[in-house]
């Protein structure tokens, strides 16, 4: 019996490893000499088809392998990518892009305007059903909405190839952040001949993935590893220092990744947990921080009959919670910052170099337990109650989500003098219950889709599908609508500021923190960019320098 098992085991082992292509892990010193970087992608990318989805992980790989008309420079500013120029008409409703003559696909074919037209028609094509087709609505491309709703054929999209190197895009109304949208992955070019050739296997069969960016796909073992290598066909190849980027294993567990980093298995790893921060500090590693761009908040259910339909109670929470304590003691990861409203400070202001937060600051005194108590007392007196009824905080079920929910459970029960329960449910259950209005308070968050305050500001408009709070304010809706059409950027910021004030003072949402992250890099690896918009992490400007590579 045992002999048989052992034989079977050996046989199976041989079989498993015969199929495993990745057996030649290079040491960190070898990688340094060869200009290679290893990191852990954490998961299988949901889609390697640029037009299909827009998650960060797929976007990281695609952003290295493809390039849009525009892209982000090292400092995070929008710059020319595949397009050598972008010209806007007087009314800012027509954009003309000139595509670089030396822009090439990885197989040597030139990138032409038609590749963009094809990709964008595909984006809005109902038959293709891209989850991110709505971004064409945000870009206000003529007829995008009508095509998605099947009222017009996709050929009617307002994007036209004048000739191979000229692309003309018509917009319904001016869009202040149109240039940054053109750097977004769903607007990357796609090759019709490859989609036709591979059909259902397109973007799934590695051979079908041919990009126009600085790196080309070298190998992809599903759910196991991925490797991209420098593409000499890229128009700006001379500026690219790294020869290869590889995820030798796709591991989510941060501690495991940290262990792998410490033993030289990978060159970059996140340390976004208090325990890991401590370990990294003990190991005397240099911890870098970044902002993810997301805002976390408690969303109140303000529908009639719900406890938090009362504004005073919402304000009691808004003013009572201690954001600094929460960020520093409970989350305990550098990079996070307290947040007081839904529009993050980093959003662009009306002039280059001026942020939204600088131009339209909004904050108030929090950790005001006495003030909160007064608000609660006023409520109790009005309703002739002795004590607030019990309520529930709906949260996710990860250990982190539970920890945060428990903190607020404790904090709110003290502030409001009520019994607070926590309901921890799986991710999609939380989303669905939120959508169905089955909650008192839900721990929620929002991440930006594009580089403009609007991606947060319109979240609580009455018509927004994602406004699950039941909150509706006509003045707020009108201000957001005005901001959408306003072309004077300074005026636009003021409209956002006014709307944001209304929203924050009525508090259907209570912002907690602007999420961040912390990571460590192998000694000598420099120029890795962490980004809110565009590719994250971005290795396009990275290189190994003379610094010591340990292990």
């Amino acid at each position: 019996m045992k002999h048989v098992s052992i034989k079977m085991t050996l046989g199976l082992a041989a079989l498993v490893f015969a199929s495993a292509a990745h057996a030649d892990q290079k040491s960190r010193d070898q990688r340094k000499t060869g200009g290679e970087v290893y990191w852990s992608a954490g998961d299988e990318p949901p889609s390697m088809d640029p037009t299909k989805q827009a998650d960060t992980l797929s976007g990281m790989w695609l952003g290295h392998m493809f390039e849009g008309l525009m892209t982000y420079d090292k400092a995070g500013n929008v710059t020319h990518g595949t397009a050598e120029s972008m010209t806007a008409s007087e009314d800012k409703k027509t954009y003309t892009f000139k595509i670089r003559k030396n822009a090439k696909w990885h197989d040597g074919k030139p990138v032409v305007a038609g590749d963009f037209v094809y990709a964008w028609q595909r984006l809005v094509d109902p038959a293709y059903a891209s989850e991110y087709s709505f971004i064409a609505t945000a870009a206000a491309i003529v007829n995008a909405d009508e095509i998605i709703a099947k009222k017009l054929p996709k050929e009617q999209l307002g994007a036209k190839a004048i000739d191979d190197s000229t692309l003309e895009v018509k917009l319904k109304h001016p869009v202040a952040f149109f240039d940054s949208l053109m750097a977004f992955q769903v607007f990357f070019p796609v090759r019709k001949d490859l989609v036709d050739k591979y059909a259902d296997k397109f973007a799934n069969d590695p051979a079908s993935i041919v990009g126009n960016g600085p790196f080309k796909l070298a190998s992809w073992n599903k759910e196991q590893s991925m490797r991209i290598e420098k593409a000499d066909t890229y128009w700006n190849a001379a500026a690219i220092k790294l020869k290869a980027i590889e995820s030798p294993a796709m591991v989510k567990d941060l501690q495991a990744n940290y262990n792998n980093f410490q033993t030289g298995g990978i060159d970059l790893t996140g340390v976004g947990q208090p325990e890991l921060i401590k370990q990294a500090q003990d190991a005397k590693l240099k911890i870098s921080t970044f902002q993810t761009g997301c805002i976390s908040y408690m969303q109140a259910n303000v529908r009639d009959g719900k406890l938090f339909s009362d504004k005073n109670l919402r304000l009691a929470i808004r003013n009572g919670i201690d954001r600094n304590e929460y960020v520093n003691k409970i989350i305990g990861v550098p990079g996070y910052k307290p947040a007081y409203s839904i529009i993050p400070d980093y959003m662009p202001g009306s002039k280059p170099g001026l942020s939204y937060g600088k131009e339209a600051p909004l904050s108030f005194k929090d950790a005001d337990a006495a003030g909160a108590k007064k608000l609660v007392e006023a409520y109790l007196k009005e309703k002739k109650l002795d004590k607030l009824p019990a309520f529930t905080i709906l949260s996710g079920d990860s250990s982190r989500a539970k920890k945060y929910a428990e903190y607020f459970q404790n904090s709110l029960s003290k502030l409001l003098g009520a019994e607070v329960k926590v309901e921890s449910v799986p991710f999609k259950t939380r989303l669905q219950k939120t959508r169905d209005g089955q909650f008192d308070i839900v721990m929620a968050g929002w991440c930006p889709d594009y580089r403009d305050a609007m991606t947060f500001a319109d979240l609580f408009t009455t018509k927004n599908e994602n406004n699950n709070s039941g909150w509706s304010n006509k003045e707020f809706d009108a201000l957001i609508e005005q901001a959408g059409a306003e072309t004077d950027l300074a005026k636009r910021i003021q409209l956002f500021a006014k709307a944001n004030k209304i929203l924050t003072d009525d508090a259907p949402l209570i912002a907690e923190e602007a999420s961040g992250g912390a990571f460590v890099l192998a000694g000598g690896l420099e120029g890795v960019q962490r980004r809110i918009f565009g590719v994250d992490p971005d290795f396009r400007y990275a290189e190994w320098t003379a610094g010591k590579a340990s292990h």
Binding site: S133, F134, P248, D253, Q255, N259, T263, T429
Partner: protein, 323 residues
């Protein structure tokens, strides 16, 4: 042996096979119902997909069809065409390919863990029983309780640290040959995850084998054998172990299935691209096709292993051979 492979066995297998199919169908149907009773669907995202876009997606995935049609389509595809469909999360990834590529990795860990865990566990159990109430016995029993009580989520990082990270960073172990903390693709990568998985098996096996050995040692046939002057070695091997091991064999099936399918934590920590992680992700993502496909696959696997265990049981113990 000859008598064993008789028409009785054929009848037994036939009956069991039929029962297996019914069980699998019931499992698939229940999964279908429960899966759809869970709030949300595969298209539920943090950001609600606009209505027109969602409509297009639902049509593409056939989610607009009446529930009974969706049920029939999925059953037909799975059981008659052998096609589990495609993942909703990972575009273009077929569930069949997931099973083909990822299951062998989980399976090899499970098999190695089973072989190691059973061998060590049985030996420990036998010695603990033979020297019962000695220091060896007590130590083994304490370790067993610890082994059963501590979840692999705790053990795995500890093993990873002490067997890989510490030797590599503090003892100057050669990273070209030493065990890697994370990785898959080399034979050495099997060792740590299998070791982690085997600890629980060792604990269960030791305890069970010990108590069986103790029971058997009081049996009358053992006393008879002793009275007849059978040598100690022969007594232990032929009479005690052979009888004590029988119920333990019946544990092998469930333990094997557990080791193979329950390794998701271990897979996650050691970076093994197995099926365990995929299974958990499918639950979190409401990924209907993956969830259904893997449930049916694991269900079928469990049924098959149990069937084999029963047959094996018959080989070893003539008393329970089916007539």
């Amino acid at each position: 042996m000859k008598a064993f492979f008789s028409s009785g066995l054929v009848r037994f297998l036939g009956g069991r096979l039929l029962l297996s199919i019914v069980t699998l169908l019931a499992l698939a149907s229940l999964t279908f119902v429960f899966m759809r009773a869970v709030p949300g669907d595969p298209l539920t995202r943090t950001k609600e997909i606009p209505a027109a876009v969602r409509q297009n997606l639902e049509e593409k995935y056939g989610l607009t069809k009446p529930m009974w049609q969706q049920y029939l389509i999925q059953m037909d595809r799975m059981f008659l065409k052998g096609d589990f469909g495609e993942s909703f999360r990972t575009v273009g990834r077929s569930v069949n390919a997931m099973i083909e590529e990822q299951f062998p990795r989980s399976a090899i860990l499970g098999i190695v863990a089973l072989v190691v865990g059973t061998t060590v566990g049985l030996l420990l159990g036998i010695f603990a029983a033979l020297y019962r109430n000695s220091l060896i016995d007590r130590t083994a029993m304490v370790l067993c309780v610890v082994g059963i009580a501590i979840p692999s989520a705790v053990i795995a990082p500890v093993i990873q640290y002490f067997f890989a990270v510490f030797p590599l960073t503090n003892m100057g172990a050669n990273p070209d040959f030493w065990l890697r903390p994370v990785g898959w693709g080399q034979t050495r990568d099997i060792i740590l995850p299998s070791l982690t998985l085997s600890l629980g098996i060792i604990a269960v096996m030791t305890r069970y084998m010990r108590s069986q050995m103790v029971d058997v040692s009081f049996a009358e046939y053992v006393r008879t054998a002793k009275a007849k002057g059978v040598s100690t070695l022969r007594l232990v091997v032929r009479h005690e172990i052979r009888n004590a091991i029988l119920p333990v064999i019946s544990l092998l099936g469930p333990i094997f299935v557990g080791a193979v399918s329950g390794s998701l934590v271990v897979e996650g920590v050691f970076g093994v691209p197995g099926l365990g992680v995929a299974f958990i992700n499918s639950i979190n993502n409401n990924d209907y096709n993956v969830l259904m496909g893997l449930t049916v696959f694991y269900g079928g696997f469990f049924i098959l292993v149990n069937l084999l265990t029963d047959v094996l049981y018959g080989v070893i113990d003539p008393r329970i051979r089916v007539a």
